[in-house]
Subunit: 330 residues, 2 copies
């Protein structure tokens, strides 16, 4: 019987339990994957705590991203067969599906082939990060060459994906991070400038870097009072994509700068892309091609975890010390 991660109560990392559960057959339009690697996301941390945009039904599975080999296909599945090397696209609800485990059932619409040259660990670190950044910056934000893109919490996998997409498009990537310890990492990852927010004022630095013009696109998963700084750092007509709610504090709307500069604040999650067959296919192709060309390359944290160490892996994510994707190998 495969070992599956579940939690029976909301709470800290140690609510995650590794349980032996019966092997399940895929239903109609589903496939089953023998999991090789799992990519961790902040969404799973807040889901585990009951603070996500969806509430778990206990006991609950969890997990959006895994890479593996298809070992069974349900009825009505086309385009995929047993033995295919795939990874999961987060287009589903964690109330219905979860990939933390040795085996995972997924809707066929939520799996994709990934480039052969990537390892399974890299395969588990593709779709969430690149589609999230792609949707905001490319599909909606229509990022152009020379756009100034302000990327906060930039050491996260999605932040790093946004840096890579910005550089692939020819924009200027300004990354922020709390402490100075991640500055050189972010420069190595492609950021043109890094603002250390514990020491520097975001708006002042952005205006300095851009000679007073400000950032055209901002990509922020934090919210909270810092949104006011992001509005001050924004260019006339800029859009701020708010794709998360990591701040425990309320988020004020920057009304005066919004009026004066005509700012747009856009709440956004990748589900807008992944749950639309047309947008998802466009995103998948865009990302696949840039992975093939090498413009995009998943960055994985040096520290690796096994499935037995899932609690430690979640604890590590909560330290905010990771540099890139945290991957659990199975």
């Amino acid at each position: 019987m495969p070992r599956i991660v579940r939690f029976h109560e909301l709470g800290q990392p140690d609510v995650l339990k590794l349980e032996e559960l019966p092997l399940v057959a895929p239903g109609e339009a589903e496939v089953r994957i023998k999991v090789e690697a799992i990519g961790l996301n902040r969404a799973e941390v807040v889901f585990r705590k009951g603070q996500y945009i969806e509430t778990p039904t206990l006991p609950s599975q969890l997990g959006y991203e895994a890479a593996g080999i298809i070992d069974s296909v349900g009825t009505g599945v086309t385009g995929f067969k047993v033995g295919d090397r795939v990874s999961s696209i987060p287009s589903f609800s964690m109330v219905d599906y979860g990939v933390y485990g040795e085996s995972a059932i997924l809707p066929v619409t939520a799996v994709a082939h990934y480039p052969d040259k990537l390892s399974a660990s890299e395969g588990a670190a593709i779709w969430m990060q690149y589609i999230t950044a792609y949707g905001a910056l490319i599909e909606y934000g229509k990022m152009k060459k020379d756009d100034v893109v302000l990327i906060t919490a930039a050491s996260s996998s999605v932040g790093l994906a946004a840096i890579q997409l910005t550089k692939a498009t020819g924009g200027l990537a300004i990354a922020t991070t709390r402490g100075a310890d991640k500055k050189s990492f972010l420069l190595d990852a492609g950021a043109d400038h890094v603002i250390v927010t514990d020491e520097e004022n975001i708006a002042e630095r952005v205006m300095e870097i851009t000679s007073g013009a400000g950032a055209n696109l901002t990509f922020d998963p934090v919210g909270g009072p810092a949104l006011l700084d992001l509005a001050d750092a924004a260019a006339k007509g800029a859009t701020i994509y708010q794709y998360g709610a990591l701040s425990p504090e309320p988020t004020p709307f920057p009304l005066f700068p919004a009026l004066v500069k005509g700012l747009t604040i856009r709440g956004y999650t990748l589900f807008e892309i992944t749950q639309s067959p047309e947008l998802c296919e466009r995103a998948r192709e865009y990302v696949f091609n840039l992975l093939e060309s090498g413009d995009l390359k998943p960055i994985i944290d040096e520290q690796r975890f096994s499935l037995d160490e899932i609690v430690e892996a979640h604890r590590f994510m909560e330290t905010n010390k990771q540099k890139g994707k945290i991957v659990v190998t199975v």
Copy 2:
């Protein structure tokens, strides 16, 4: 010497003084207007108090909207001549120009002919209200037939303009007003539904009216905590145009509904339209044609004021009792 309204200190309506000042000749690319009627705007009230997006240089003139006859043209003016019947488009800064008075200098880019069938009082009640609503709902909002449009503070001139534009486009206009006293007025003005916010919950009523779908476009000059209700009343993928800051309270950003529904909150003023020659010309033509066809018709409050009563006119605006545009005849 013409009588001109100025204020030498920020404050309550009685800081407005009627002063005899020398007749000024228009400069290059300017025209001078013999003013027949002045349309009052909330912007002038907050400008007078020093709470506007621009700060007055004292002593300061004020006023965005007037209708009158051109009685002098400066050098380099084309398309307008002495004797032309025009009204002003708010495309200028009140720090530089103001139309409260018997004579007003304006940049030629800020005047427009208006349909002959309209009175001067109606002519002074066109461009601010219709271009403000047009920019948000038509130019940016791409309003379509059957869109559900939620219009707050709907008894204001801009609110009424939004109702008329929505009906001209074939959308459903849901208007809000604080007290029940303006309900029948708003229904007469074309609103399909009126929500009395002192008595009813906005989101509940909008969801009831739309069978749970919510409003596609929201047009709000208030801000403050009510933005949370507007977010709850919004449809998936909706945009809320925030075009003012009337609430004295801070405005919270509705982060969770914004993430879940992919909401856009857009700070907006008509200057984005009026200060772009291309967008302004498109707006002017759109509004002019609908005024000619009768789809748009300025609604003017029954109570009229003379220029000597400018203080009373401002006091009246601050009572929020007006139904439509407050016009001062000169």
